[in-house]
Symmetry: C2
Subunit: 341 residues, 2 copies
Amino acid sequence: MKKTSLNDIAQQLGVSKTLVSLVLNGKGNEYRISEDIQKKVKELARKLNYKPNQIAKGLRTGKTNTIGLIIADIANPFFGKLGREIEREAASHGYRVMFCSSDEKAENAKLQIEMLQQGQVDGFIISPPNGSEEQIKQLKNSKTPFVLIDRYFPEIESNCVVVDNLKASCEGTEHLIKNGRKRIACITTNPGMLNMDNRLDGYKKALTDAALEVDENLIKILPFSHEIKDVMEAIKELTSLDENKIDAILFTTSKVGVMGIQCLHLLDLKIPEDVAVVSFDDLDAYKISRPSITAIAQPLEEIGKHSVKILLEAMTDKSKKKELHKIVLETKFVIRNSSIK
Amino acid sequence: MKKTSLNDIAQQLGVSKTLVSLVLNGKGNEYRISEDIQKKVKELARKLNYKPNQIAKGLRTGKTNTIGLIIADIANPFFGKLGREIEREAASHGYRVMFCSSDEKAENAKLQIEMLQQGQVDGFIISPPNGSEEQIKQLKNSKTPFVLIDRYFPEIESNCVVVDNLKASCEGTEHLIKNGRKRIACITTNPGMLNMDNRLDGYKKALTDAALEVDENLIKILPFSHEIKDVMEAIKELTSLDENKIDAILFTTSKVGVMGIQCLHLLDLKIPEDVAVVSFDDLDAYKISRPSITAIAQPLEEIGKHSVKILLEAMTDKSKKKELHKIVLETKFVIRNSSIK
DNA sequence: TTTCTTTGTTAAACCGATTTAGCAAAAATC
DNA sequence: GATTTTTGCTAAATCGGTTTAACAAAGAAA
C-alpha cells in the first residue's frame, strides 16, 4: 500500500497535477479553478488520505519547516526542559525540532551543524560550546538564520537570548552574605564561556560590594567535562583549608550542584549548618531534596518562546535589513532551606 | 555565498554530474573513471566545501537517515536520558533523531507520526500513549519500520523493547515487606497501559505471595495527566485512614514519585520512619535527596541500544521475512535510605 | 465579423541529487 | 582489416512536489 502522490489524484480525475497542487494549496480561487473540480479534488484527496511528501516539497521550496537545536545534552534536565519549551513553541508555529547533543564539544557541534545545514533545517537554535566561534561565523557567512541561547560570543554579532548571569549570581551570593556567611566558595566550570565567566564575576562583585575578600583559594574551576570525582576533589580541597573553613558554596550549574550536594552528603557535611548551598538552575531534585535547595531559576519558557520567535522572524523576513535581537532575561531567585539558618 | 551543488563541480571541470556523483560516492573505480579525473573531482569538491543536499538525496533514494522518536515528554528526566541514549546509538550508525513529545496524548502522537511519515523519517521508535492502537496498526499496515519502547500493545504484533515490570515491581514490594512494612500503598497512573498495569500486578503479587491482604483502599490510580495536587489528595486519603495507617508507598513512575515525596515532606511525614518509599526510575534527585530514595532503575542504555539496533535491522533488511523482536530487559533495584529502618 | 479579454486549465521547467541505459573511441581478437 | 571487447564517460529519467508561462475556448467590445 504505497502512498498517494499528487499524480495519482491527477490521473484518477483526468486533470493535471498542477491543478491538484493549486487546489490543495488553497490557490484554487486565485487561479480560477471551477468550484466543481475543486470539490472533486478535495474529496478524492481526503478519500485517498493524501499527504504531501515533505521531502519533495522541501526540495522545491527550499523550506523544511524544521529547526535544528544544538544543546549540550538533552539528558541534562535544564536542557531537557528548555528543549521542551522550544519544541512546544516551534510546534505551535508548524515547525518540528531536530535535537542534537553536542556534549559541549565544538567538534560535535561543527559536525551537527554542517550535517543539518545540507537542506535539513531552515534555521538553528544553538547553545554554542567553547571553541565553536569559527562554526558560528561560518553559519553567519552562509546566511543561515540562527539564534544563540544560554551563551553567546561578544565578538560575533548575532541574535541571542540569555539571562543576566552576573546579576543572578550576585544576588545569590548577596543572599548568602546576608545570612551571615563569610567564607563563601564558588564551584564553577567551562572557563572562557561567557555565561560562566559572568557567574563568577557576579560572585566576586557581591563579595567586593560587601567588603569581603575575594580569596582565589575559594574558587574552583572544573574542566569542561567533569565527573563527580572532580567535584569531590574540589570540595575536599575547600573543606581542608586549615584556617577559616568555608561556610557556603555557590554552584554555577545544576550539574555541578547535584554532584556537589552528593559529595557534601558523602562527606557528612550538614547543609546548611556546616555549608550553605545555592545553585544555578532549578531542578525537581532541588525541590524534594532535604533540605530543599535554594536555586537561581532561569525562565525556561520565556527563553524558549523568545528564541523561537526571533528565529522565525529571521527565517521569514525577506527584507535584507535583518535586525539582530539580543534578549537578556531576568532569573528568579528561589529561597529554600539550604541557605538559611 | 550559495552552496555548491553537483552541477557546479561538473561544470567547472567540464564533466557530467553523473561522473561527479559516482566519484564522490566511491564508485569511481567500479565505473572505471580515470584516476586523473577522480583526483580532480575530489579536490574541487573539497575546495568548494561540497556537501550533498540531503533533501535531494532523500527524494531520490527514499532514505532520510533520520529516526522519529515519539515519547511522552523530553523534559521528563527518564525520557531525556533515554532519548540521549537513542540519539547516541543512532548517531553512531549515521542517523539523526527527530524528537517529539506526545504528552501521552494519542491525538498528538497521531499527528506527529503522520507528519513525520511523509518522507521525513525512515522509521520510528515510539513510546505509544494510551489509545494509540489504531495509529500503530496504521503504521504497521503502511510497512513503516518501528519499534515500541516502554510499553506495547499485546494485540498488535510488533517489535518492542521493554522491562520486566511485574518482576521489578514485585521485587520492590518484597523489599518493603522484608523490611517489616505491612500496610504498603501503591500510587500509580495511566490505567490500561500495559507497563503500568504490570507494575500494579507486581505489587499485588508480592503482597499475595507474602500472605498479606491486597487492600484496594491502599491503591491510588491517578489520571493520565496528573498534577501535584492529585498526588497530594491521594496521599491525604491514604494517611487519613483511621485504622491501620500506611507505612510505605510504592510509586510506579518517577514523575509520581517526585511529586509524592514533595507531598510527604509538606505533610511532615518522615521518610522512612513514618512512611518508607520505593520508586520506579532512578533520578539524580533520588541520589541527592535526604534520605536518598530507593529506586527501580531501568537499563536506559540497553533500551536505547536495542531499540535502535532492531529498528536499523527492520529498516535495512530487504528480505520480506522481517523477524519481530520482543526484548524484555531486567531492571536494577537500588536500595537506599528511604526504605530501610 | 474581427479583435481583445477573461476564464479554466495544462505543459514543462525546476529543486539537486541517483541511477539506468547507452555511446564513442581505443584496444584486443580473429 | 573487420569484428568484438573494453574503457571512459554522459544523456536522460526519476523522485514528488511547486511555479511559470502559455494556450484553447468562451464572452465582450469594437
